[in-house]
Point group: C2
Chain length 499, copies 2
């Protein structure tokens, strides 16, 4: 059957063609069916959509991806025929039927996903199938391998170490210290990191204040060679690409099935080429993992799966109920890291980083955790970690001489004051993210907040609780409104009631 | 935040806007997020998509639905802000977590679906949630009510009766006989039916050979008043509209969760305004319901749910393993119905129709099934059912005097012959559908096949097994190829082997 092409200069993120709904029904091409579209000797598979008015009988609406693949011109004729149903649909159905998938089936799903052969509805079915029915270790390993194989891979050489936090804690920039500490001791540390998804700043956003992080595979490899370590954005090296494609379907429903959490993180560590991996699972009010029991169960799975992937994975469970540093937002966090490496302030951050670095030294060099901690702390105190950090900054293309005071601050500032007297009971990670996002972080690097109190502090009505920063005055106003309805800092009255 | 509109003259079937991916990420508008787009005093909610190149920073791509709702011009400026997450997403997540939904939650999902506020991915999650975790009676009733309320409703008056077959049997046009039989006895029979989804012909396709079936609510109501019965396409009265929207997401994954099957059928019967409903569940090789046990379970649920919806629902389980008539395809089937009502041939079809009509007479008038059967058969033999059928045809706008021989036949014909001698073991419904679709049915009304043998017949190599008909010679050739690899009629050698 022949159709006349109508080009739409728009990307769809998948290969889709639009047919007139009346004609399509007659021809038995239903919405979400697959067809092969051919022009000359070339043919591509596409998913069918219908339009009642905007496409007439005999026409076919074609978006940019399909047009490019077939080099189509407007008005050109193409032929359309039914395509085979992708095998991955049977595999997805199987998971919905609570059956175990084999490696071939999982590989097929991920490869069809990467080839843009699956619709959003089909991807959602895959994710909900995993969410409802779970995956066993073999399936999770196969999924990890498939995701790992879907993107770029670093080859840092034998004995490389890496670290990753499950996240959820504001200002948890430990890895920006751990990487230079370990690298200053001669370890190779190929650290890739993410940008913020819902928080004020990811490690990539904070590091970007100091140096470019959007480096391709070749450039990252050369940084690793020069500095022995890197702190780059994983998205730029297209790491575990399939994972990114799954995230947008998961987000609206807030679906975070455990096998996907496990395979996503392990695939990325495997793609870094790490042999030794330390994972940090923060627990406590407001973190991703609800309680220590769940964290222990997750830890066991990470370690077991890691072994099957030829990685030595250790897990630390840490207290993640409150922020580690005062300033939250990319610039604040970058400054805190620099200060910490200079030996100034930020003791909680330094302490946590050295404890984690110490455990990794235990894994790689066989020292005790206490010994490892002392070694790590010594690298900070001696300035060797700072020196290594500057080497990394330089290798990635930043200014190695950057000082904390060089980092710019936002144009506008406001203060949020205590509405009543009492004691600080809780500082909330979620609320911090929400206020910082409203202020413009992480896109506005200088946006963020600075906490003026700590948990347990006594405050009087009118005392400053935190400062809000933004380059955009209207956002500052908006954030103040949000702040008023959000218990970012909970002040509890000391005397609750007098009878 | 303001954007410049770029119009794309294309329907999307949902409200979607496209932002530049870099800018959208900075603004924290992710793919599948919801935003409110405002122009002047008007505002609509839309789902975000990203484009890397085709939409520049500061631009917003808008499709026809959104453009129409806001009366947008190309180049106009609109503002965009975050929208609230629809409550239905929490309800969908709840079903994925295997929790029971209340009526309000189910109503919200269906109303968000009708308002095009849910993405395909979210709809797929809802369907897979039902598929994986099921629904109890209260949930199924609430879903039925919500689907019923989503479309047009007939009001035929007290005591109306209807009939429906779950389908899967080629040439099962019983309802085209049952409706006039019952109506000729004074019953009101508001029968709506579907077009073929994957078979050679639906009741609507076959009826359309004799009279228009695409009648709106008003016209259908007037037909009911005139003839006391109708046989119209449910799609035209927009019956159970939500159901249609769910079908396209279900189809690619072949997901047919039982609560959706139940609520889809019951909502349509309820929307017909039927008080007495007979459901036919064909079982046997190749039908939708695998075995009699499953059919019995389904029957129990239909009857119980029907009661809660104030309908008296009875179920018959019938043998659906083979076709009921010789000719398959819209014209063949329309002709078979006319002949049957004229008292010619098609004994199996007449017998089944009278048995089912007899059971409905038992429900409505309290007669025994045997008595009901005799009454029904008498209406056929006396020509009264035929007379009523002609009244219905006339009321719907067809030619009441139509004779079987008036129905046209296809231009091209071929014969498929037995490749070896033996006995006919099975005639396959699925294979019939496949060959008929290839011949052009149901769009080509005259396309189809005519069976030349019955199960149990002895055939010799070279005997005609069936004839193939199409208006399109190339389709005939294609269908012959399909026929060669498809065991439409299984001929078993009588002597299997000689030792």
């Amino acid at each position: 059957m022949d159709f006349k092409v109508r080009l739409f200069d728009m990307e769809q993120g998948k290969r889709e063609v639009v047919l007139n709904s009346k004609q399509a029904r007659e021809l038995d091409y239903n919405v979400l069916d697959r067809v092969v579209v051919r022009a000359g000797k070339k043919g591509v598979e596409a998913i069918v959509d219908h339009a009642t008015d905007s496409i007439k009988e005999g026409e076919i609406g074609v978006y940019r991806e399909t047009a490019k693949a077939l080099e189509l011109r407007d008005g050109q004729r193409v032929s359309v025929e039914s395509a085979h149903r992708p095998a991955s649909l049977d595999a997805i159905k199987k998971k919905l039927d609570n059956q175990v998938l084999d490696e071939g089936e999982i590989t097929t799903i991920i490869s069809d996903l990467m080839d843009e052969r699956l619709s959003d509805a089909e991807l959602a079915a895959f994710i909900t199938g995993i969410y409802a029915n779970g995956m066993n270790s073999e399936e999770t390993i196969a999924l990890t391998r498939a995701i790992y194989g879907s993107g770029g891979v670093l080859k840092p050489g034998k004995g490389a170490a890496s670290v990753h936090s499950i996240g959820g804690v504001a200002g948890d920039r430990g890895s920006m210290l751990i990487v230079p500490i370990l690298a200053s001791l001669g370890l190779i540390v190929p650290k890739t990191c993410t940008r913020a998804i819902s928080s004020a700043s990811g490690t990539a956003d904070a590091m970007e204040v100091l140096a470019p992080v959007t480096l391709d595979l070749k450039k990252t490899t050369s940084v690793l060679k020069k500095a022995g370590a890197c702190i780059v954005w994983g998205g730029a090296v297209n790491m575990a690409a399939a994972d990114d494609k799954l995230i947008h379907v998961r987000r609206p429903l807030r679906l975070d099935p455990k096998p996907l959490l496990l395979s996503s993180i392990l695939a990325k560590k495997k793609a870094e080429g790490a042999e030794y991996v330390l994972l940090d699972i923060p627990v406590g009010r407001g973190t991703k993992v609800a309680d220590i029991e769940e964290a222990r169960e997750l830890a066991k799975q990470f370690e077991g799966l890691g072994k099957l992937l030829d990685m030595q994975v250790h897990v630390v469970i840490t207290d993640g109920s409150e922020p580690l540093i005062q300033g939250i937002g990319p610039c604040f966090e970058a400054r805190a890291v620099l200060e910490a490496l200079e030996g100034k302030n930020n003791d909680k951050l330094v302490d946590k980083a050295c404890k984690l670095a110490g455990i990794i030294l235990g894994m790689v060099r066989g020292v005790t955790h206490e010994e490892g901690y002392r070694i790590a702390l010594q690298q900070v105190k001696s300035g060797k970690a700072l020196q290594k950090f500057r080497e990394i900054i330089a290798a990635q293309g930043g200014k190695p001489g950057v000082r904390p005071e060089d980092i710019s601050t936002a144009k506008h500032k406001a203060v949020f004051k205590a509405m009543e007297s009492g004691r600080v009971g809780h500082i909330d990670n979620h609320a911090i993210s929400r206020v910082c996002r409203t202020l413009g972080a992480p896109a506005d690097k200088c946006a963020g907040i600075r906490l003026m109190v700590e948990k347990g502090d006594e405050v009087k009505q009118g005392d400053a609780l935190y400062e809000l920063y933004s380059d955009d005055n209207s956002k500052l106003g908006q954030a103040l409104k949000v702040a008023k309805t959000t218990a970012l800092i909970e002040v509890k009255r000391v005397v609750m009631e007098v009878i």
